[in-house]
């Protein structure tokens, strides 16, 4: 099982903030494939400019291995201040 978290407009697009996926996909790429099947609107939004992914609270670029229990967050462009 892995947990997936969404922030900002990604949450509005998907209609959820957090979900658990079982069985765990083996990689970030596999997770994205699964998202494309289940939530095509979210999948499109994830491909937009400036969307970043974090695995276990560390930003990742490209693909990453997902261990069981991993926490994956997808974050649209950040805007503090």
């Amino acid at each position: 099982m892995i947990r997936v978290l969404l922030f900002g407009r990604l949450r509005d697009v998907a209609g959820w903030r957090e979900t658990a996926i079982e069985p765990a996909p083996a990689s970030l790429a596999a997770l994205k494939g699964l998202i494309a099947e289940r939530w095509p609107d979210l999948s499109e939004a994830l491909a937009g400019p400036g969307v970043q992914a974090a695995v276990n609270r560390g930003l990742v670029r490209g693909d990453a291995v997902l261990a069981a229990g991993a926490e994956v967050a997808f974050m649209p462009p950040m805007s503090g201040g």
Partner: protein, 147 residues
């Protein structure tokens, strides 16, 4: 010190606390970001954070500023949740021996917070709500620091 709070805060009280007892820091710069009403077009801001990630990321930025500008001290207070026009959204304070370092560190931290802090800002108004993203100017400002 990094503070994320869902309560309104008093910028003056924060500045008094930050600047008290400094007999070797000649310079304290601060920046205070307030929610603009946009003449009625913005009725509230909603700031979303992921506290377990947002606070450590801002702490990293603050430590980077501390080293780069030889700061004596640095503090960031960031509101999260719903914010009314005129209320403080963010406050950055920097203390250094001389003014140039204090100013530049404050400027640098604000540029980073605007485009690199894990926070998401939604503006509510009479015409509905929209997510705010960094402007071209915000991104150009960030590029000044060369990273």
């Amino acid at each position: 010190m990094i503070t994320l709070t869902d309560q309104a805060f008093d910028p003056g009280a924060a500045l008094t606390a930050f600047s008290a007892g400094r007999s070797e820091s000649g310079a304290v710069a601060s920046f205070l970001g307030l929610a603009r009403g946009e003449a009625g077009q913005s009725t509230a801001l909603e700031l979303e954070a992921w506290p377990e990630f947002t606070a450590p990321e801002i702490e990293k930025m603050a430590q980077s500023a501390r080293q780069r500008f030889a700061l004596h001290d640095v503090a960031v207070i960031h509101r999260v949740g719903e914010i009314a026009p005129g209320e403080a959204i963010v406050m950055v304070m920097t203390a250094a021996a001389h003014r140039r370092e204090a100013f530049e560190a404050c400027d640098y931290l604000m540029d980073y917070l605007k485009s690199r802090a894990p926070l998401w800002k939604k503006e509510h108004g009479p015409a509905g709500a929209r997510w705010v993203e960094p402007t071209a100017r915000d991104l150009a400002d960030l590029e000044r620091w060369g990273s």
